[in-house]
Amino acid sequence: MIADVAAPAPHALPQRRMGRRALWLVVLLAALAVVAVASVAVGARTVGWDDIWNGLRGMTDSVSAASVSKRVPRTLLAMIVGAALAVAGATLQGAMRNPLGDPQLLGVTGGASLAIVVGIAFFGLSTATGYIWVGMLGAAIAAAFVYAIGSLGRGGPTPLRLALAGAVIAVAFSSLMSAILLPRIDVMSVFRFWQVGGVGGATPQSILQVLPFLIVGFLICLLSSPALNSLALGDELAAGLGTRVRTARLVSSFGAVILCGAATAVAGPIGFVGLVVPHVCRLLVGVDHRWLLPFSAVTGAVLLTAADVIGRVVARPQEIEVGIVTAILGAPFFIAIVRRQKVRAL
């Protein structure tokens, strides 16, 4: 009798949780489909179903069908960049145990930008693959730098220290970038569009070039998710459970750096996706990184595509770059997190 009652209990909870996760996954995938269709259909020119169908088959006879065939790579790029940034954010938040982890706030995208500018200005960098490698290098250096500054001294890296270190590094990087750019008006006028962060210049080639890097980064993050779960228990406990704390932190951050370096190289610095998405996903599916990372990827894709559509719609026929939309949507969210959190004194 007792066994009858007690036996189902351990399984009931995971099953219910699995059901909830599956439900949310369906909802998110449906949302992704909706925003993808919207992103292809909506823009400066509104197109009908026939045009979409023709554009997708590569028949670009009418203007509408041609604009559809331009919007398709753009939508794909928004999806993969959004997914990459969200996974990078979730991984950084887990690895640094910092709720304010975001590639842009931590100065990582700033590092990628600076490295790319240096590459363009001094080393004649011009290929997309070159941008990606150099962007990843810059992102890695910036991440190491911010983490080192933020974690010096007693008490280790608190959210406040890391955020301040990131803000300071970002200002310094942008000054260096201006110093390099200002004498070169030609580079600057190209760069200023890249600087605000947008997916408008997407081509099938640029997507194919960045995709391998994103897949590698995503796999590294996903494989390190069990280690991230143990890190969440605290360094001592994680070590006690057999996780190599230092290695786990290094490897997972490396994956995140690949993701946001490559994403920044192809789409410019886009902030707050990596901050907002993991927090939302934690509410939906809990704190298990094995679930959190894939969910973040899908939600990030939804968010960035939606932000891109919003940017195209609100100021028609002009466009607002997606980086600006995410900053304006994401910063209030950041403030809400800060208000909820008990911030430790510096």
């Binding site: 304010l100 842009q104 706030l105 500054i149 933020g150 010096l152 001294g153 007693r154 008490g155 959210p159 406040l160 220290r161 955020a163 301040l164 270190a165 803000a167 300071v168 590094i169 200002v171 310094a172 942008s174 000054s175 260096l176 201006s178 110093a179 200002l182 004498p183 008006i185 600057m188 006028s189 200023r192 569009f193 600087q195 605000v196 902030g271 707050f272 002009q318 607002i320 770059e321 980086g323 600006i324 900053a327 304006i328 994401g330 910063a331 209030p332 950041f334 403030i335 800060v338 208000r339 911030v343 430790r344 004194a345 510096l346």
Partner: protein, 349 residues
């Protein structure tokens, strides 16, 4: 009736106080001399050299061949803007750092100069307003930004760290607005628009100086008059109010005055990176724990801007705006400051 305190102790206190006052005056005097010297040097040196006599001729309104234009229309407005803006940034910065008791809580990190800058760039690029209107709107916007950050951070009482983090978030919004407007600006507007990202003295002119000069003349004595109260506020609210400072009223007045100075300087020269951040800590370092750091910090700010602008114009192959130089030079010092304040678990200047 004999004194309760032995006269030797009284004498000791009096002598120490005397020594501190003397140190304050010495440091301030030296800084003042240095600022004056750099100011005159930046008028004299350049592509052509002009003697002090020629410059004096220009200032007193005589026609001097060549110098009347080069000094009167180019170097003098430029150096004056730098001087005034540096004063404003230095003083405004140290007020915020003292009130929040954190060297890292300077107005350029917590979004107040970003607010002024976003308003100014909107007024100039989109609305095409005159300089005076821009200055006032920038001030209003900076005050609104300060109020917004304060209200958002206020929850069961204010908290310094929370205010700083929320300021960083608010700054991100303003920065994205600025870069959006700059990305829409016409190609020939670009160098001018870049001023709103880094700060520059490149197109300083007399009509731009006028609002700034009036702001300095009105607000600076007000701020200096509150220097003692600011020192007491640094001891903590309870101590300050026990010593007779009307805490809330004085704090609001200090913030409004500092924001006014910062906003007028930003409207005239753009958000010159890190000057507000660096001046206070440098001044306190030089000064030691004596007297009010407001005026010394202002002088350090002016010194930083003038030197950085001079270096930006002449030390490199191309002419770089002052904000780029202060940003690049300031970064290492800032990193050092961050490390040091982390190590001492510490907070203050």
């Amino acid at each position: 009736m004999t004194a309760l305190v032995p006269t030797e102790t009284l004498e000791l206190v009096a002598r120490a106080r005397h020594r501190r006052a003397r140190r304050w005056w010495t440091v301030t005097g030296v800084l003042l001399l240095a600022v004056g010297a750099i100011y005159v040097l930046s008028l004299m040196l350049g592509d052509t050299f002009y003697s002090p006599a020629e410059i004096w001729g220009v200032i007193t309104g005589h026609q001097v061949a060549g110098a009347s234009f080069t000094v009167g229309e180019l170097r003098l407005p430029r150096a004056t803007t730098g001087l005034l803006a540096g004063l404003c940034f230095g003083m405004g910065g140290v007020v915020f750092q003292s009130l929040l008791r954190n060297a890292l809580a300077s107005p350029d990190v917590i979004g107040i100069t970003s607010g002024a800058s976003a308003a100014a760039v909107f007024c100039i690029v989109v609305l095409g307003l005159s300089q005076t209107a821009v200055s006032f709107i920038a001030t209003v916007a900076a005050l609104a930004a300060a109020l917004l950050i304060y209200l958002l951070a206020y929850k069961d009482g204010g908290s310094g760290p929370r205010l700083i983090l929320i300021g960083i978030g608010v700054a991100a919004i303003f920065d994205s607005v600025i870069s959006y407007i700059v990305s829409r600006a016409a190609e020939w507007d670009l160098p001018a628009a870049m001023r709103w990202l880094t700060g520059s003295l490149n197109d300083a002119s007399w009509d731009r100086i006028l609002p700034l000069a009036i702001a300095v003349l009105v607000l600076m004595p007000l701020l200096l008059g509150m220097g003692r109260d600011l020192e007491l506020l640094r001891l903590g609210d309870h101590t300050a109010s026990a010593l007779g400072v009307p805490v809330e009223r004085r704090r609001i007045l200090l913030i409004v005055t500092a924001v006014g100075l910062l906003a007028f300087a930003t409207a005239a020269a753009g958000p010159i990176a890190f000057v507000a951040f660096l001046s206070g800590p440098i001044a306190v370092r030089v000064l030691g724990p004596v007297g009010s750091p407001i005026l010394p910090a202002g002088l350090v700010g002016a010194l930083l801007v003038l030197i950085a602008d001079f270096a930006g114009q002449h030390a490199f192959g191309t002419r770089l705006p002052v904000g780029v130089i202060t940003g690049v030079l300031g970064a290492p010092y800032l990193v050092y400051l961050l490390i040091r304040s982390n190590r001492s678990q510490g907070t203050t200047l």
